[in-house]
Symmetry: C2
Subunit: 334 residues, 2 copies
């Protein structure tokens, strides 16, 4: 208890929601929970560290929102419904000025998703927050990285690149005067996960991932798990008007869209046989999705090395020079 600063009661115990499937949460050695019949449990862990994932002048409300959204987004990528959250938080000392806005933001977002804090640990140490989120997905229906097949269409939800442009502004204050800089910073801290949209893809999409490492990186995770390659049309990448205005041209906007991480948009594949069902879904959906390419076999394109993406513009493979420049940009991002 001594290590827990007695903050648990004040900031955490009183603020939790009360889900029916939580029989016991804070206040004993473990939480006791019931998973509904016919569902699998989906579990993911994410950590954010001061100095690595956020700066000391970051708004605690933004830190809570972004960290939890990233964790929620992992559930979204599988088509799971959020249920329970465990939080490990280390702080050098109990700083209530920091904790109060952090908790307000955390619980507001958790409540939006009917996500209950079921336990955790509060310790003395450098500022670090680690979430383990749990959710439910109908038995055998989860959207995995490994289901993409040759011929499937590759889609991305929303628009890409805003989050990285926002980060550029945070790291280089001279960019704060560029068009829509403030909007893009907000997109960085408050990118939205596609949790409801992902659930509507259950039974329709063959694979799915959330864009947390950057589109190129994340598509490659699908290709590796599914043992296929892909063709991606750079000119079809969806980017926002604000991003184009920020960079002053769409080429740079789309290059950023290829690599920007922490977007929490979804990249997913739709088999031809589900295409009509998908188009019907999209006709009634508030979320936009754009087809950016197609899954091909490893023999279909000249480079048959593992997890290869062939980039095209105007249906023509890009030049070797541009390929090299994208690779360079990608290495630089990482």
């Amino acid at each position: 208890m001594s290590g827990e600063f007695n903050l648990i009661d004040k900031y955490f115990a009183a603020r939790q929601s009360n889900r029916d499937d939580v029989q016991l949460s804070l206040g004993d050695d473990c939480a006791l929970l019931t998973v509904p019949q016919g569902y699998q449990l989906a579990v993911s862990t994410d950590t954010v560290v001061l100095g690595t994932h956020f700066l000391s002048d970051a708004d605690p409300a933004d830190v809570a929102y972004k960290a939890l959204m990233s964790n929620i987004s992992d559930l979204a990528a599988m088509g799971a419904t959020p249920a329970w959250l465990s939080m490990a938080i280390s702080m050098p000392e109990p700083n209530e000025d920091w904790l109060a806005p952090f908790c307000d933001s955390l619980f507001a977002l958790a409540d939006e998703h009917n996500l209950q804090l079921i336990g955790g640990d509060t310790t003395k140490g450098p500022l670090t927050i680690s979430f383990t989120i749990q959710g439910f997905v109908p038995q055998g229906k989860a959207l995995m990285r490994s289901g993409a097949q040759v011929g499937d269409w590759i889609y991305v939800s929303g628009a890409l690149g805003d989050s990285h442009a926002g980060l550029e502004v945070i790291l280089d204050k001279s960019k704060a005067e560029k068009p829509f800089a403030k909007h893009l910073v907000r997109q960085h801290f408050r990118a939205q996960s596609r949790i409801d949209f992902a659930q509507s893809l259950l039974g329709i999409a063959s694979s799915c991932i959330d864009i947390s490492d950057g589109l190129i990186s994340d598509i490659k995770h699908i290709l590796k798990a599914s043992r296929v390659n892909a063709k991606v049309h750079i000119d079809k990448l969806p980017v926002s008007d604000e991003l184009i205005a920020f960079y002053g041209n769409s080429t740079q906007a789309r290059n950023t869209a290829l690599m920007s991480g922490e977007e929490y948009e979804l990249c997913f594949t739709i088999p031809q046989k589900h295409k009509a069902m998908f188009d019907e879904l999209m006709a009634g959906s508030d979320t936009k999705a754009h087809c950016i390419g197609q899954i091909v076999s490893r023999d279909d394109i000249e480079d048959t090395s593992a997890s290869f993406i062939q980039f095209l513009r105007n249906d023509t493979p890009i030049s070797n020079e541009e390929k090299a420049s994208i690779q360079q940009g990608f290495d630089h991002f990482n």
Copy 2:
């Protein structure tokens, strides 16, 4: 991925066991898991931080063992069976000299308990390890803190105090020459959780807690949750011969036993109606348990303030001076 040092494959992915209830573990956005029918899920999170919970010269194998054992012990306290582990680890840089012995020790202990690593996050940051452990307990049968009733007998398993004496040696090298110093340091790092014994208490004990904060503190957790008080016989506290030899007298050994945390022994209550069943269990058990007192109502002893323990020696309440000295010692420990 950039933050994950590509160490996941090398140190974690290849080392996991393969439980039938794990449909997907490392390598996708979430793990996918199935809880057996008729069981509740028990979940607990524990964090250890360099400088707070262990020193920089600590053996990484000891750090892994102690941190995981503490987490396993939370399941033991509920009578749950370990199943799945998520790990968030932050390190300043990928230090393989540290990770290799850490992982060897971690996986050896996890394997002993059929505990599978199902996911986690590896990030750059000050050395911090956070575990979220999950296990199963038969629906409605978990040992909780809130079940103690007036008249129940209070027991502790094993012997108490060794862990704290070991910590004294670690923090004050001059004590390394005292009797059994090395043995007690090992007890500190390698205290054993009573996971099997706890499961044998399901349906017999009315409440249970693991001794992680110190006996006084942990009994008070039971008293608070159960809304009762307790009488505890100090002279009946089980202490090891090694602890008595280390201090040179049994009084100091028992005072340490009252306050020593991180023991992972169990404190539990047995109703009179289950006493015969419990005695039969103990007759066939390798684990020893000692009755140290009894649950009383809040009106039974003069101080009716919340969660009060009356201490006795030779069946006589201890003096006010000794009471004050214990309180002082307890405050000092915390």
